[in-house]
């Protein structure tokens, strides 16, 4: 099951190879939280998640071909 992963902001540096765009393949149902764990990223580092443009929780179950957008917490200000 291919999933597109996009990361907005500085948290991308904690994703594999520091990339803000990834394609991952997964067999079977997976939640957003499990996906983050599989990528080695603490789920607290993601402030918000959109799947296919819609805001979801980290317990959302991903589907084949989903585009997942992770938002970093804004820094400073």
């Amino acid at each position: 099951m291919p999933i597109s992963v996009l990361v907005r902001g500085h948290t991308a540096s904690y994703f594999p190879e520091g990339k803000d765009e990834l394609e991952v393949v997964w067999s079977g149902p997976i939640t957003v939280r499990q996906l983050l764990a599989d990528l080695g990223v603490d789920s607290l580092l993601v402030m918000r998640v959109n799947v296919n443009g819609m805001k979801v929780t980290k317990e959302h179950i991903l589907a084949d071909g989903d585009e997942v957008l992770f938002f970093s917490p804004p820094a400073g200000g």
Partner: protein
């Protein structure tokens, strides 16, 4: 020199004279601009031991080599002076539109020295430099006086002002610009006030020489397009920096009840969503900004009705959480009052929180306040105290010198409530469960400020309890983030959008014609960091490790509530962090830069001074 206007403007307020001298090439080459110019010029120009609020202190205002150029976020200006808040190195930056205007007027730095014998403002219109009477603006609010000057001089002038707090030399008075943006920290506004300087008004119509205009256009266009095409670009702007409020509570790092705890149960009432729903009229950006973080809005209740830019995250944290305001309207109103009085809302919220805890514990009594109360959660009490501080009335006089001074004066254990490092009040991230963030505050080169190293996500990823490896990350960030301050670019494109850092050497070369690798830029940033550290050594007798510790609350009191409940970093942990940090920086165990390090960074002139301090046994 490409990228630079080529001139330094020096204004003497004592006799009203000015001079214009060429920008030294070695200054541009070794310090780049902005924060680098501020640090080097303060070192050279401000004699050791001067009173920060005396006529011998100087203010330096410096744009950078990329200021005013067609690039994302090229509108930052650095102000600096020996800090009245700390007695050490002080600087603070502001966005808006005044920095490009200074470049367009023909200046890479403005040095303001002496003291006027009556209120004045500095008028700059290209080559016309005048010290003008400011009696009619004196006593007016920071935004009110900016409005008046715009009316009198014309909309095309860019204005920086101080409010009553600056006039009365409150140690955390800020310099205000663009109706709600501030160079907020380290008391630069108090230094303006000490010189009877109410405002700086600038208009420039010159151009900036570029090494390769075609390349600048090409790279600039690509950088803007790069920002616009980043994933989720359009979703960052609506809430601005206040969008992080819920997250900081979720990780247990939100200053609450004068930093007694790190979680505010009512945080969802003062978060970015509330700003959008209840305050915001429009987004407001700085010069050449693709992601406007400013939120201009209106706070209206039966008790007040004000227009205000903000609140941004730091104000939400220090006014909102730290004094426990329960509505976003109250936070915005208190923000407005601070802005108009010319008070830094970070130190302002911290100082008021300190006073509220003193009141709660009976150190300050209602009788001493002529019947007034100081209750957490009361915007009325907050505003009352801010007015007392800005005008130095009653207990406001001691508080106007910051929490370090007030706690030393009042005693009775109040130093435990004084949340500061080196005399600068702590900003919006509690560090008891975030060792890298804690170390960032401990070692920041202006006192307890977050912007040099925002390391809390590294704590989350690498381990909240873990101390190993934290110092290296803090040092890395203390070079990367201030690099933007050398160039005078906004760093939010990098931080918030994830804009790639390798763009910056490219664009630096296109603008200046100088080939600097990323490592070269980091070397300059390290040079400036070691110079500012040396400034502290020069100015503070006995300066060293003892001034890098946080208040005892953070090493002795477990966080009582929230996600970080029970957490704190005991002294041995703090010492481990400092030992690692000093070793990696090439400093001795007292936190003094070594001879080798200073010479390696071409800071031999500073080494002479540091060595003298060492020989007297005051540095280590």
């Amino acid at each position: 020199m490409y990228g630079h206007a080529g001139n330094i403007l020096r204004v003497n307020l004592t006799d009203g004279t000015h001079s214009i001298t060429p920008l030294p090439e070695d200054l541009a080459r070794e310090y780049l601009g902005g924060r680098g110019f501020v640090a080097k010029l303060l070192w050279d120009e401000v004699s050791s031991g001067v009173d920060p609020l005396g006529p011998d202190n100087k203010i330096v205002a410096a744009p950078g080599p990329l200021t005013g150029v067609f690039l994302p976020g090229s509108g930052k200006l650095h102000f600096g002076a020996k800090s009245p808040a700390t007695g050490g190195y002080g600087d603070s930056n502001v966005g808006g539109h005044i920095s490009p205007e200074i470049k367009f007027a023909g200046y890479d730095a403005i040095i303001i020295e002496g003291k006027a014998d009556k209120p004045v403002y500095l008028f700059i219109e290209n080559d016309t430099i005048e010290v003008r009477d400011a009696e009619k603006y004196w006593g007016k609010g920071a935004i009110e006086s900016e409005t008046m000057l715009k009316h009198d001089l014309g909309e095309e002038f860019q204005i920086a002002t101080i409010g009553p707090a600056g006039e009365n030399m409150v140690y955390f008075a800020c310099i205000s610009h663009d109706f709600g943006r501030q160079a907020g920290r380290t008391g630069v506004g108090a230094v303006m006030g000490s010189k009877n300087l109410k405002a700086i008004a600038v208009r420039g119509t010159k151009s900036i020489p570029l090494a390769n205009p075609d390349a600048v256009l090409e790279v600039g266009k690509a950088m803007f397009e790069g920002c616009f095409s980043k994933p989720g670009f359009e979703e960052w702007t609506p809430q601005g920096t206040a969008g992080v409020t819920d997250w900081v509570n979720e990780v247990g790092a939100f200053p609450t009840h004068n930093f007694m705890t790190s979680y505010f149960p009512k945080h969802s009432q003062i978060n970015g969503e509330q700003i959008v729903n209840k305050l915001k009229i429009t987004d407001k950006g700085c010069y050449s900004c693709p992601i406007p973080c400013g939120k201009y809005g209106r706070a209206k209740t039966p008790k007040y009705d004000v227009y205000v830019e903000g609140p941004e995250y730091e104000t939400v944290a220090l006014i909102g959480g730290n004094t426990e305001m329960e509505t976003i309207e109250d936070v915005a109103y208190a923000n407005y009052v601070c802005d108009e009085l010319g008070l830094d809302s970070i130190s302002g919220g911290n100082v008021v929180g300190f006073a509220m805890e003193c009141y709660e514990n009976g150190v300050i009594t209602k009788e001493q306040l002529d019947g007034q109360e100081l209750r957490f959660g009361s915007v009325h009490d907050f505003v009352w105290l801010c007015n007392q501080i800005a005008t130095r009335q009653g207990i406001g006089d001691a508080l106007a010198n910051g929490v370090r001074y007030a706690s030393e004066k009042w005693g009775k254990g109040t130093e435990r409530y004084a949340i500061q490092v080196k005399g600068l009040e702590w900003s919006g991230y509690e560090g008891r469960y975030a060792p890298a963030m804690m170390l960032s505050y401990m070692t920041c080169d202006v006192g307890a400020h977050h912007n040099r190293s925002w390391a809390i996500t590294y704590d989350v990823q690498a381990g909240r309890e873990q101390l190993e490896g934290k110092a290296a990350k803090v040092i890395e960030l203390q070079h990367v983030r201030p690099m933007f301050d050398l160039l005078c670019l906004c760093r939010l494109q990098w931080v918030e959008l994830g804009f790639e850092l390798d763009w910056y050497p490219k664009v630096f070369q296109a603008v200046t014609g100088e080939e600097y690798t990323w490592d070269d830029l980091m070397k300059v940033s390290e040079r400036v960091w070691n110079l500012t550290r040396s400034f502290w050594v020069r100015e503070i007798p006995g300066f060293g490790r003892s001034m890098d510790y946080p208040p005892a609350r953070f090493s002795e009191e477990p966080i009582p509530t929230g996600p970080a409940e029970g957490k704190y970093i005991p002294m041995e942990g703090l010492d481990q962090l400092l030992d690692d940090y000093y070793r990696l920086r090439g400093w001795d165990l007292n936190g003094i830069p070594s001879t080798d390090k200073l010479e390696q960074l071409n800071l031999g002139f500073a080494e002479k001074v540091v060595a003298e301090r060492r020989s007297k046994g005051v540095a280590n």
